[in-house]
């Protein structure tokens, strides 16, 4: 089976293939989900366990990032916000978090404490409890600094599930894309500029009012983290029997991010966001939902495309390019590495 490569963890096609081979193929159907909830039989932001009158939603993620402190945030903020957002994207109200911190021997105690403080302050701000956890120390050299795993639990009366997207639905993005990925890329490349700042933040203030008011009209929600908008939309198309069309001219990408991406040979559509949501909304309510999103302070939210009936056998995302051409927007694949020229 070869060796594990970095591409296996990049969140693109290779990650899906690895998960399929490694885990999904080993599970009989009954193990993949509880009752009429959501589980591994169906990839979404969180799992759902049915209870009378609704669902418990649950999620778990391991967070690593290099550098651990980056413009706009740090590993602690990333892990707290990421877990809260995964619950929200399934229509859940975040209630509690458990954490596991694995830290390398020799790590600066102040750095460790800054990261934990940062994680806890996000939870405090969002009214989310920290109800359990673990901490381990690995011998020096056996881990690159620190790894934080957070599990989140919440409650949903109605689930927002990707496969409910219908032809005609408008695709809304709530802010400029690729901001987190660009900030990390710039930091890793030693580019010092005030232009790049991660968008990492919990989306509670955005999602809770929307869930409350438009639960029947928001057919899907996703925070495009690893793999970016390209991965999220491809997942949507494949799981919903639609084809998704996106207009490049409508995509909110800030100019410095465009320039950085061109310099490094990466696509902003495959860079992660950590405080931005993608929503699929029924066409009759899309304008109203967009207005509401603007009213909640997400001024750069825009409709970037729509779902259409499928004309191909597999799920596809079509990108109408700036100059009026079209191409297939593929899910990201391979490791993101700077190129030669």
């Amino acid at each position: 089976m070869g060796r594990v490569s970095l591409a296996h963890g990049s969140g693109g096609i290779e990650t899906s293939h690895l998960l399929e081979r490694l885990i999904l193929n080993r599970l009989p159907d009954w193990m993949k989900r509880l009752g009429d909830g959501l589980g591994l039989d169906y990839p979404d932001d969180s799992a759902a366990i049915p209870i009378p009158g609704g669902y418990i939603v649950a999620t778990i993620d391991a967070y690593t990032v290099s550098p651990i402190f980056f413009p706009g945030g740090d590993l602690g903020k990333l892990s707290a916000a990421g877990t809260i957002n995964d619950l929200l994207m399934l229509g859940g109200r975040p209630a509690a978090v458990l954490d596991a911190i694995v830290v390398e021997e020799g790590m600066d105690m102040d750095d460790l404490s800054r990261i934990v403080e940062s994680m806890i302050s996000i939870l405090r701000m969002e009214g989310v409890c920290l109800v359990g956890g673990d901490i381990k120390v690995m011998p020096s050299g056996q881990l690159d600094g620190i790894l934080v795993t957070t599990a989140g639990v919440g409650y949903a009366s109605k689930l927002i599930v990707d496969k409910n997207i219908r032809p005609g639905d408008k695709i809304i993005v709530t802010g400029p894309i690729g901001e987190h990925g660009a900030a990390i890329l710039a930091a890793q490349q030693g580019i010092k500029s005030d232009e790049f700042k991660s968008d990492v933040s919990p989306l509670t203030r955005l999602m809770l009012p929307l869930i409350e008011k438009y639960a029947d009209h928001i057919h899907a929600a996703r925070d495009p983290t690893r793999g970016g908008v390209a991965m999220a939309l491809n997942d949507w198309s494949k799981s919903s029997d639609t084809m998704i069309v996106v207009y490049e001219s409508e995509l909110p990408v800030r100019e410095p991010v465009v320039n950085l991406c061109e310099m490094m040979g990466v696509d902003p559509l495959s860079l992660a966001s950590e405080g931005t949501a993608l929503l699929a909304v029924s066409p009759e309510k899309a304008g109203e939902v967009l207005e509401q999103i603007h009213g909640l302070g997400y001024n750069e939210a825009r409709i970037i495309g729509e779902a259409r009936s499928r004309t191909s056998s597999v799920g596809l995302v079509v990108l109408k390019t700036l100059i009026g051409g079209a191409r297939i927007l593929e899910p990201p694949s391979g490791e993101i590495v700077p190129r030669i020229c």
Binding site: E14, Q189, I323, G325, E330, P338, R339, I340, C341
Partner: protein, 388 residues
């Protein structure tokens, strides 16, 4: 970096403008109708730069052109054409404890033969070898000077990348512990090779950045010896579309010649200083191209006077000569055909099956500039025309 209000920003916006694009498409369609009325069924326009292929695919240019206007990618990716023996030598040195530097895409380039269980520098790194990915040669120069350990740079590249090596060597910046595996190549000889092999090339989009160094003049042989309309083009989508319209116009007029569309940076003479540096440090020699074989006067080799920078002689190795070179693609891989534009990535049975950007099998799937990788990552498969 270009910001709102500055000239580069405005230029970029201008050369990506949708309204201008639709006007140029109309011009192209007009020319094409005229050509068709004269009985022309197909024109094949070849590019010689991975970035042109990127622009073509990324902006969906093929999807807005008339079906008879065919854009074909030629040899334009320095990583794709780097012979396997260089990678094998680099892996061998890395496994023996030499610090190995190269670019992000070259470090994943697979060799055809395993060395010590590794096919690429990235695999050598997984086995614990000290392989460092850098963004420029000078980063390696600085890093190697700092640690002082035996180090080698896998120096791939075309005329655009090689002046950086030449400049550092000519200016005595390279520390004693750092040597180079010089795998640099020249594009015009490969262009000649490709148009001769493919035979039916009706126009050439010549590489803008290479021409910035060499001068557009190096492409004169295409119209003069082969009667092929040739336009040196920039890399924005409208640059490429204007180049296409200029080529069609030349075909229509029956007057093949050399034109510079990318006049923002390209002159007939090129960059005199860079050319002098290249000539001071390198000889131009017959050299191997991956999957293709030897092409006359197509490679850079260090001159005798700077041979102390040559990794092969430092570590007692030797490059294979013409009779020792052997085919360096894995079974089933048609990258040799893809590189010279004789086949499309989708003609390969391994494309997106055995060979993907995450697990590249052939060299054209590795670099962001490789045709197969570009098609794989940006949906250049002709599917979009079917579904819309």
């Amino acid at each position: 970096m270009a910001q709102k209000g500055d000239l580069r920003y405005l230029t970029k916006r201008l050369f990506r403008d949708e309204i201008l694009a639709s006007q140029i498409v109309n011009i192209v369609r007009g020319y094409w109708e005229l050509l068709r009325s004269k009985g022309v069924e197909e024109v094949k326009i070849m590019n010689f730069c991975g970035t042109h292929e990127y622009t073509t695919t990324h902006y969906g240019i093929r999807s807005i052109l008339p079906p008879g206007v065919n854009l074909v990618a030629g040899p334009g990716c320095p990583v794709c054409i780097t012979p396997s023996f260089y990678v094998e030598a680099a892996v061998k040195l890395a496994l023996e404890g030499v610090t190995l530097y190269t670019y992000g895409d070259a470090y994943r380039l697979p060799a055809v033969r395993e060395v010590g269980g590794c096919r690429s520098l990235s695999e050598a790194r997984m086995m614990g070898a000290d392989v460092r990915v850098v963004y420029s040669f000078l980063d390696a120069v600085r890093d190697a000077a700092k640690h002082g350990k035996p180090s080698v740079f896998l120096a791939v590249g075309f005329e655009t990348t090689c002046p950086a090596y030449a400049s550092a060597i000519a200016n005595n910046l390279v520390p004693e512990n750092l040597t180079l595996i010089v795998a640099g190549r020249l594009t015009p000889p490969a262009a000649r090779f490709s148009v001769e092999r493919v035979g039916t090339v009706s126009g050439v989009i010549a590489p803008g950045h290479v021409s910035t160094i060499t001068g557009a003049g190096v492409w004169r042989f295409l119209p003069e010896e082969y009667g092929i309309p040739t336009v040196v083009s920039g890399f924005e989508p409208l640059d490429v579309m204007i180049a296409i319209s200029l080529i069609l116009r030349q075909i229509m007029d029956g007057e093949p010649r050399l034109q510079i569309e990318y006049s923002r940076t390209v002159t007939m003479e090129g960059n005199r200083r860079a050319k002098e540096l290249l000539a001071r440090v390198f000889d131009v020699v017959d050299a191997a191209w991956r999957g293709i074989g030897f092409i006359e006067k197509s490679g850079y080799a260090l001159k005798e006077s700077v041979s102390q920078y040559d990794a092969f002689s430092r570590y007692g190795m030797r490059e294979p000569n013409r009779s020792e070179w052997s085919h360096d693609l894995l079974p089933g891989c048609i990258c040799g055909q893809v590189i010279i534009g004789a086949a499309k990535p989708t003609d390969c049975r391994l494309f997106m099956k055995r060979c993907t950007p995450g697990t590249p099998y052939g060299p054209c799937m590795v670099s962001a500039e490789g045709s197969c990788s570009i098609w794989a990552r940006m949906g250049g498969r002709g599917v979009v025309e079917e579904v819309l």
